[in-house]
């Protein structure tokens, strides 16, 4: 199933195709001989992570549109080629190979599943192309498994869990039970929470690893109830989270214990009925930041390009991925991956791209963007997009593991 160019995939989508395709093609000012800077986006348009992947694709498309309107990268148009990884590492690698060999892309962006991120990271390093990981959170991508070619926009699970672990312990209690998705992302999250929660005086009373794609959580919830924790910590991903929340509500478990965790996304909350919308979570970006410059305008531009939709944190990941590459290429005056990687190290996002109170920087030691966290509580009675009451903004640099503790050692090829 080659869904080669995003325009074609867009056409399939809900009639919005015509406008989407128009926006993604280089604008009229470019002549056919202009040699585009090609960005290969490996992301999920089908499978468990499809909704999140689509948001990252939209964010990247908006960034490409803006860049092209402003003269492209180094005077060359930007072209994004999207391939579907279906949330599977093998598929992701296969598609990345096609993007590299058939389309000669200059950079890679994308991925939602941490498992895909890890394999694409190795692929990128082997082929000397920068991979700007948009949305896979597993710690070791910018930790023990880091490499010179890989950068990451979204947070590590450590940053993510630090966003609200203290709040959860202080507010809701010290006895924790985990329901954790059984792959790299979940394992990483649970290890981080465990370390933080025990550090704050909490105890872990139990937990279960849940296979990806589980639809019936009843038996897990029976176990969780038997352990009678204060906090039921959900570390699930994609559609699994939605299914779990619904069943927790149906069983009335949210009356006897507090539910919370790290990742809960605008797209997921929107898919839940009102009764299943609750809990304390961390957002990595939020569209409603009164008083923060450029944010409202960004939301408006996104609205114009995708009518009826508000940017989620995933949209922002995609948006930053493309803009960061463009900034670095401009600074390096080259699209050579090695030069761009050097330029990305220590790069601070300007306010119109950071779109938050702080100024996130790509840390040179591990290539992790130190973005801020937006912990908050789900706005149960709100309507889309007013689905979250943000408590706070926590600058990433204040909660990230120090660079010397991540286990990352970067070496460049000579």
């Amino acid at each position: 199933m080659p869904d080669h160019e995003i325009g074609r995939r867009g056409l399939l989508k809900a009639g919005a195709g015509a406008s989407a395709a128009g926006l993604l093609l280089p604008r009229l000012g470019w002549s056919a001989s202009d040699n585009p800077v090609k960005i290969g986006q490996v992301d999920s348009t089908t499978g468990n992570f499809a909704v999140l992947g689509q948001s990252q694709i939209k964010g990247a498309a908006l960034a490409a549109h803006e860049l092209n309107a402003a003269g492209g990268i180094l005077g060359r148009p930007v072209q994004i080629l999207v391939e579907d990884d279906a949330g599977l590492p093998a598929t992701g690698l296969d598609k990345a190979g096609r993007l590299l060999n058939a389309d000669n892309v200059d950079f890679f962006i994308g991925t939602v599943s941490s498992a895909v991120s890890l394999s694409l990271s190795q692929f990128a390093q082997k082929n000397n192309k920068v991979f700007m990981c948009s949305g896979g959170h597993v710690d070791k991508l910018t930790g023990a498994a880091c490499n010179w070619a890989t950068f990451r926009v979204c947070s590590t699970t450590w940053i993510l869990t630090q966003g609200d672990s203290k709040t959860l312990v202080d507010k809701f209690g010290k006895k924790w039970y985990f329901l954790t998705t059984d792959y790299a992302f979940g394992h990483s999250e649970q290890a981080d929470y465990t370390k933080q929660v025990t550090g704050y005086g909490g105890t872990i009373v139990g937990g279960a690893l849940v296979p990806v794609g589980t639809s019936d959580f009843s038996s897990y919830l029976i176990q969780a109830k038997a352990a009678s924790p204060d906090v039921l910590c959900l570390l699930l991903a994609g559609d699994d989270q939605i299914n779990a929340m619904k069943q927790i509500t149906q069983f009335g478990l949210n009356n006897s214990m507090k539910v919370g965790g790290a990742l809960f996304e605008l797209e997921q909350i929107a898919a839940l009925p009102e009764a299943a919308r609750y809990g304390v979570w961390t957002f990595e970006w939020y569209w409603n930041q009164p008083g923060v410059p450029h944010v409202a305008d960004f939301v408006k531009r996104y609205n114009t390009m995708f009518p009826g939709l508000y940017p989620s944190q995933r949209s922002w990941f995609g948006y930053v991925s493309v803009h960061a590459l463009a900034l670095a290429a401009t600074q390096a005056k080259s699209v050579d991956s090695m030069a761009v990687a050097k330029a990305l190290e220590g790069l601070t996002l300007p306010p119109e791209i950071a779109l938050q109170p702080g100024a996130p920087t790509f840390r040179a030691e591990d290539h992790q963007l130190l973005l801020g966290m937006f912990p908050g509580e789900v706005n149960q009675t709100g309507t889309y997009p007013n689905l979250m009451n943000i408590y706070d903004y926590v600058p990433g640099a204040s909660i990230a593991l120090p660079a010397d503790q991540t286990g990352c050692k970067l070496t460049y090829p000579s």
Binding site: A14, N48, A208, L209, I222
Partner: protein, 289 residues
């Protein structure tokens, strides 16, 4: 711990009766049409999405009746255009064709209703636990079990007491002979396919009430029903029913000891069954042997 196991076994029965409901439509089609319908999950999802669209107009109960009938209509068209051409061919053709259909359904749903998950509203009074001790027995799950029992009993009644049912059973045994005595087997197979799809539709809507709607929902639902059929025995509706209950309970009880294995245990049971008794519990002799 004992209470834990009892809870999980009981819960497994609830889950299992749902598997059984899904498996019966599949088993029906496999029996008479001789087609392993990989698009079954697609039909489930289709009916669920149709119900979602219908709920504002006719309410949950109306949608629960109308959507499976509409799905049955789509099933009829699909049978006429695609499935009918597969009857005399190698089973591989039907595998490929229905697998292709499954992908088409999935993309169709994504195109019409979007990739974003959607909630299917169920009546409020069903949406809470029946007692605080047995918190996992919600009104809705009881309703699903009741409906599984009623519709299975209804199907058995149809097969036992109606002319159509007698012909379906006869056709299961020997299609050529009933054709020779004047039964229009093409019509019979169409009717059987539609009946199977209506079961799929019902199961799909019931699943959506608990899990919500996603274009891929059929995929995750269909695998346990295949396992239920293999365990219960290909061609036997009673077997499918029992197969569903067995894997439901096995998976539930496993969760009490080793949660990470709750998924794999149903495939283990299937594997053991295929080695020890390939025809399944109540399967026809010769199939898979």
């Amino acid at each position: 711990m004992l209470l834990d196991i009892i809870f999980n076994a009981f819960n497994g029965l609830i889950v299992g009766s749902f598997y059984a409901l899904m498996a019966i439509g599949l088993s029906l089609i496999l029996g008479l049409n001789g087609v392993i319908n990989f698009a079954h999950g697609g039909f489930m999802a289709l009916a669920a999405y149709l119900a979602f669209t219908l709920v504002p107009y006719v309410g949950f109960w109306g949608a629960l009746v109308i959507a499976p009938i509409l799905a049955g209509g789509v099933g009829y068209v699909v049978e006429q255009l695609v499935v009918r051409r597969l009857y005399l061919r190698d089973p591989l053709y039907s595998l490929l064709a229905t697998f292709g259909l499954a992908l088409i359904f999935q993309d169709l749903l994504r195109t019409i209703w979007g990739a974003q998950g959607l909630p299917l509203a169920i009546p409020d009074f069903l949406n809470q636990p029946v007692s605080s001790t047995y918190f996992f027995v919600t009104g809705y799950r009881l309703f699903v079990v009741a409906l599984a029992i009623i519709s299975t009993a209804g199907l058995f009644a149809i097969l036992r007491f109606t002319r159509l049912g007698v012909r379906i059973r006869a056709g299961n045994k020997d299609l050529e002979t009933i054709s020779a005595v004047g039964v229009n087997i093409y019509l019979l197979r169409s009717a059987n396919f539609v009946l199977g799809i209506m079961f799929a539709g019902l199961a799909g809507i019931l699943a959506a009430g608990q899990l919500g709607l996603t274009p891929t929902m059929g995929d995750s639902l269909i695998m346990p029903s295949f396992v239920a059929i293999v365990v219960g025995g290909v061609g036997s509706l009673l077997g499918s029913l029992l197969g569903g209950l067995i894997i439901g309970v096995a998976s539930g009880v496993t969760t009490a000891f080793f949660p990470a294995a709750s998924e794999v245990v149903i495939y283990l049971i299937m594997g053991v069954m295929l080695i020890v008794r390939p025809r399944g519990l109540f399967g026809q002799e010769g199939l898979f042997e």
